[in-house]
């Protein structure tokens, strides 16, 4: 990682920036005090804030068109994971076109730091960080997400399809 440093004369003038930020705060505070009806509040949990689509929330394992897992158990995500929270057990698939697939894929979500390295390491677009972020659970065991939860939890509605499809890739000769 490269670190950028701004050593110009201008960067030493920090006070205008601080005061500018403070003025925004003051403007909102005064506005809220004088006009309480229009105060920006959210009645959580009835109302929820939508995050940007780029938000990296809980993991999703994508599926192929037939609904089976896209993951080939190459372990690159597990290798790349700085928190070491991914555990995969590979096995041989009966279908020679698939060859290898995970029989266990577990993420210890309490250890996960949501850095997105797994998503970047995946060569087949099998794991993504989804938009979900509210994931309470009653006990520790429920924070270990298995294949069933990662790929087929109810709000994924049968699984999210990858745009990279094996058969199409094969036909194109890649």
């Amino acid at each position: 990682m490269s670190v950028m440093q701004n050593n110009s004369e201008k960067s030493k003038w920090y006070l205008p920036g601080v005061l500018g930020g403070l003025s925004v705060t003051m403007k909102h505070m005064v506005g809220n005090l004088l006009n309480r009806k229009k105060m920006m509040t959210l009645n959580y949990p009835e109302q929820m804030n939508d995050y940007s689509p780029r938000f990296k929330g809980n993991h999703v394992l994508t599926v192929k068109k037939d609904g089976s897992l896209r993951c080939t158990a190459c372990m690159l995500c597990a290798t790349n994971c700085p928190a070491e929270c991914i555990k995969i057990v590979a096995a041989e698939h009966n279908d020679p076109a698939v060859e290898k697939f995970p029989i266990a894929y577990e993420i210890d979500i309490l250890r996960c730091v949501f850095c997105g390295f797994c998503e970047e390491a995946c060569p087949v677009d099998a794991i993504r960080l989804g938009p979900e972020w509210q994931t309470p659970a009653l006990n520790g065991g429920q924070f270990i997400y298995d294949i069933n939860h990662l790929a087929y939890r109810p709000n994924l509605k049968g699984g999210i399809q990858t745009h990279v499809d094996d058969e199409e890739r094969h036909k194109q000769g890649i």
């Binding site: 190459c74 290798t79 096995a91 020679p96 060859e99 290898k100 000769g173």
Partner: protein, 521 residues
Amino acid sequence: MPKCTINGKEVEVKEGTSIIEAMQVSGDRIAHYCWHPGLSVAGVCRLCVVEIEGNPRVQIACNTMVTEGMKINNTSEKVKDTVKWGLDFHLINHPLDCPICDQAGECGLQDQYMEYGKYDPEMAEAKVKKHKVVDLGPTVVLDSERCILCSRCVRFTEEVSKTNELGLFNRGDRTEIGTHDGMPLDNKYSLNTVDICPVGALTSKDFRFRQRVWYLKDGDSVCNGCSTGCNIKVYYNKEGLFRIKPVYNEQVNGHWMCDSGRNAYKFVNREARLLKGIARGTEMAPGAAAKSASEVLKSTSGDAVALVLTAQYTVEEYEAIIKTFVEEFKTKKVFFWINNKETFDSFDGLLSRGDKNPNTKGLLKVMEKYGISATWTDLSAGLANGSIKTVVVAGPENQAVFPEYNEKLKELSKAQNLIWMQAGKNEALTALTGNVWIIPMKTFVEKDGTFINHSGLEQKIKKVTNVVSEALTVTEAALLLSGKNLAMPMMAPFMPTNQRPDQVELEARKKNEFVFRRGSL
């Protein structure tokens, strides 16, 4: 002795050395797939090209001999360009399924691609599809698409195992490796083809998909499968051992090892091991079990005590336990448990020997040193008439090569007190009741020592890893059995040297080495 210059360095080599061998001597790196030091030269991969001064074209290094005054260069732009285009040809039909391929991480093609890769392919044609997951035989699976047709495996079955199962079939880019009709790749050395495959075309059924290679650490050892004593590398991580591969040693095994030797990791793994000692039916720590057995040994004197040894332990261990018996217990009743005497001298002409113990010579040497001449008939007679009351047994590590294990166990359990030291689990053993002590032992990867092979060559083995850390070596057991305590070697504490004198000292601790290694990827 011709002298040549390789990349500016002057090297003197033997007459008839090829350039690629000279480069191994000089330590220069050169790409090669089809050339293997243990096989004949095929010259099919065309990647080991070099530029020779005075020669307008680049030459392959594996099939060109060094001559006096030759000036060789493989770092020039011309060579680099040639390798790059050669690699492009190799990759024309090679699938990029590295996520699935077991060779990923130790693949020559991957390495070369990173060094010379032509990242933009210029082929307009689609790849030729070949057979995936071809079952070649009981041990090996072939993926023809990944094969780059270096023919190493074919030459191996022709030249080394001499079984001729494999061949190259069809022509051009439809060429595939395959077995001759009705002849599966089924010989005692078949897994060597997996070792020498430079890409992931041949994979071992045993290791396939079980672990990615970059999670494995390796350590050198000596195979304890038979008395040849092949030099090996064991691959392991914190979950246990995963595979064994041969290491080149001209004196012993050359480049190869047999398939049955590769199974030696299985009896080392935790699921096959005794974890707790048993003393008269109560479970306890191995050391405590040995200590409790020492009381029995103290009470039985002299010739009522016998020691039975198998040839599966190291010379140092034999030395320690026989010395204890001769000097402390004043008995010379030490017996050699021979597993298959008739086949000891058989030899298959390549590596595998009938004597399936790694250290028969070593045991005989130590027994000779202490002037021990007792035979098994003495033991049988002693057990039958009850003159031998206490028997200490150093049982087999590799139980598979002791077919008469259960009979011997039955015979030995006639003794009043039976003290059995063994590494692996055995149901017949743990089912024994009465005055029986079972002490878990360490295996050959967990201790230092010496094996003496069939030809009398002494080979040192070093500790590779700990699988069952609480298990004992025979040396430690001998100390405990004679009533002494173990002297634990004090490790130098892991502590900073620049500590203030008044600083509170942390308990010495060892960092998790597996976490350390992660960064080296």
